[in-house]
Subunit: 343 residues, 2 copies
C-alpha cells in the first residue's frame, strides 16, 4: 500500500541498497545517481518506515514519559505543562513521547509500562515523585532515565529541579522589602523535597535579614498541600499568632485556601496581611486580589529533562547532570507594604 524503498528503487532503476545509501548520504554515490534518486524520493513522497528502521537500529525514536496517576489526575495542570515542554523539545530532536501513568502505589512485581516491556522506547523521563519500587523494575532494562521535579533517594540520575530554595528566599525577601517582619510559613507534605526546600529558603531568607526564626509562625504538616489544608492551617496560624503581617504559603493551592480563610475573617489582603504563594498556577489571576507568587517555568522542566535525555542517547555520557531551573517573583496585588510599623 504505502511507498517503500523498493518502489523508489524500481522507479529510479537502481537497487534498494543504492537508495538507502543515497538517503544516508554515503560518499561513494555518483552525483547523477544521487540526484535522480532524490528526485524520485520526492516525487513519490517516500519516507523510510519507523518500524523497519527500528528493527535494524534497535532504536525506536520514542521516549517514555511516566507520571503517577494522582499527579496526572489532579486538576492543576502542573505536570501537564512539564509534559508539554518535553513534547516540544522531543519534536526538535525528532523523537516522539509515549506517555503513560503508573499507580502511585506501584509495588515490586507489578507490571511495568507496556512500552518498556515491548522495547518501544529508547529512554525514560519520569516527572514528579514515583514509588521507588518502579525504579527497581526499570533498572533491569538499563534504559537511560532522567527525572524532572523529583529526585529519587537512591541512585545517581540526571535530574532537573526547580530552584526551590532560591524561590523561598525570593518570597521572603520580597516581603521583607515591603517592611514585613512577622512572616509566617504554611506548608503541607513538608517532607516532600521540594516543599522542604521552600521551607529552608524561607528560613535562610529571614535569617539573612537578621530576623529570628520563630517556630510559632510556621504551620507545617504532612497532609496534602491543597486548598483545604491551606484553610485549616491559616486558621491554626491566626489562632496561635494573630500578630503576623505576612504569610508565605508553600504553594498556590494552599495560598488560595489561606485567602479564603482570611476573607471569611474579614481580614483584608494586602492591607492587613500580605500573602504570597509558590507555583504561579492559572487560578492566581482570577483571585481577588490576584495572588503574588513565585513563578516556576513548568515547561522548562520538561525541556531540560528532554535535553538531558538527548545527551544520554547520543552518549556524550558525562556524569549525570543536575540542573536547577530558575524561579522568579511574580508580583501581583496580594502583597503590599507592612503596616506593622505604627503598631
Amino acid at each position: 500500500m504505502a511507498i517503500t524503498i523498493k518502489d523508489v528503487a524500481k522507479e529510479a532503476e537502481v537497487s534498494i541498497a543504492t537508495v538507502s545509501l543515497v538517503i544516508h548520504n554515503h560518499k561513494r554515490i555518483s552525483p547523477e545517481t544521487k540526484l535522480k534518486v532524490n528526485r524520485i524520493i520526492k516525487e513519490l513522497n517516500y519516507h523510510p518506515s519507523r518500524s523497519a528502521r527500528g528493527l535494524v537500529f534497535q532504536k525506536t525514536g520514542n521516549i517514555g514519559f511516566i507520571l503517577t496517576e494522582d499527579h496526572f489526575l489532579r486538576s492543576e495542570p502542573f505536570y501537564t505543562r512539564v509534559f508539554i515542554g518535553t513534547e516540544f523539545q522531543a519534536r526538535q530532536y525528532e523523537y516522539y513521547i509515549l506517555f503513560t501513568t503508573i499507580s502511585s502505589t506501584f509495588q515490586v512485581g507489578d507490571k511495568l509500562p507496556r512500552f518498556i516491556l515491548e522495547r518501544n522506547v529508547d529512554g525514560i523521563i519520569i516527572a514528579g515523585k514515583v514509588p521507588s519500587a518502579i525504579l527497581d523494575g526499570l533498572n533491569k532494562y538499563n534504559l537511560p532515565i532522567a527525572f524532572a521535579d523529583y529526585y529519587p533517594p537512591e541512585g545517581n540520575y540526571p535530574v532537573v529541579m526547580i530552584d526551590n530554595i532560591s524561590g523561598g528566599i525570593l518570597a521572603v525577601q520580597h516581603l521583607i522589602g515591603l517592611k514585613h517582619k512577622k512572616i509566617a510559613f504554611i506548608g503541607g507534605d513538608i517532607e516532600h523535597p521540594s516543599i522542604w526546600d521552600r521551607f529552608q529558603g524561607y528560613k535562610s531568607g529571614i535569617e539573612k535579614s537578621g530576623i529570628k526564626f520563630n517556630p510559632d509562625y510556621c504551620i507545617t504538616d504532612t497532609d496534602c498541600p491543597n486548598r483545604e489544608n491551606g484553610y485549616s492551617s491559616a486558621k491554626k496560624l491566626l489562632e496561635k499568632s494573630p500578630d503576623i503581617t505576612a504569610i508565605f504559603a508553600c504553594n498556590d493551592a494552599m495560598a488560595i485556601g489561606v485567602m479564603q480563610y482570611l476573607k471569611e475573617k474579614e481580614c483584608s489582603i494586602p492591607e492587613d496581611i500580605s500573602l504570597i504563594g509558590f507555583d504561579d498556577v492559572e487560578a492566581d489571576l482570577s483571585l481577588d486580589p490576584p495572588l503574588s507568587t513565585i513563578g516556576v517555568p513548568k515547561a522548562e522542566l520538561g525541556i531540560e529533562a528532554m535535553r538531558l535525555m538527548s545527551d544520554m542517547l547520543n552518549n556524550s555520557i558525562t556524569s549525570p547532570k543536575k540542573i536547577l531551573v530558575p524561579v522568579e517573583l511574580v508580583q501581583r496585588r496580594s502583597t503590599g507594604p507592612a503596616n506593622n510599623d505604627h503598631l
Copy 2:
C-alpha cells in the same frame, strides 16, 4: 541485548515458530509444549518487540493526536484534558498516543506530522479546529480519522461534539427558573460552530419559555472569546441595556471578564446581576463568587474519540458516527434569584 523470541526458543528447545504459536494460542500446540514455553517466557520475562510486530502486521499500535499550536499553548488546558481522555482510553485498548501540534496557518504543501510520513500511526485523532489544508494532506494516506470538538465543513468523518445547544438551553432555563426575564448573551468568535450553537441554545431556551428574543441583550462579535473581550462586551452591554438581570457568557473566560467589569461597577453578583458561563474551567472555583457554569466533560470528548477510532480500526465500519457528549449545569454562587419582580 534484550530477550528475543530466539532466546526463548533455544531455552525451551523448540523452534521460534513454536514460540510464536504459543504466544498466539494456536490450536495445534500440545498442552505440554504450551506449558513449557509459557514457563520460559515468564522466566525470561520475554515480550515481543513492537518494531518487529509492526513490520509484519503493518500496524504500529500508535494513534496520532493532532492539535493546532495555539490550542496547545493557550493557558486554559481544555484540549489537554481531551488529550488525557484519549490517552486513558488508548491505554485500555493497548494503543499509544503520539502527540503533535501543527501550525494554525497550515498550508497545502506544508510538511505533515512526521508520524504520518513515517507510517508510525494507525489512525489520527484531531482535536479542535484545524486548517482544512491539512485534511487534504491527510486524506492521501487514507488513515482513519476521528474528530473531537470540531467538525470539518467538508467530508464525512466520525466526530465527537459537546452538546452545545442543550448547554445553552440549560443555562437560560436555570436563569429562568430563578425568575430572570431580561437575560443577556455575550459571545465572541460567534461564527465558531460551538459558540454559535450555544447562542442558538440561548435563543431557543428563552423562546421556549415565552420570552421574546431581544437583540439589544446580545453582544456578539468575531473576536477571540477571552477575558478582555468579556470585559469590553460587558461594558457595551450595560451601556446599551442597563436593565438586564442576568448574563449568559458563551464561555468562562469571557464570564471572568464580565465579572471583573461588574465588580468595578460595584454591581454585586448575584444580587444585582446573575452570571453564568460555559466550560467549567479550573479558575471558576477561585472566583468570588464562584462561577456558575455549564460543565463539559472534557476527558469524555477524548475518550469517545478514541472509542470511535478503535471501532474504525477493528473495521466494524458502520457509517461515520456522530456523538454528542452531554453537558450539565454546575450551580455555584454567581447565579441567584432575580430581584426584578419588585421593580
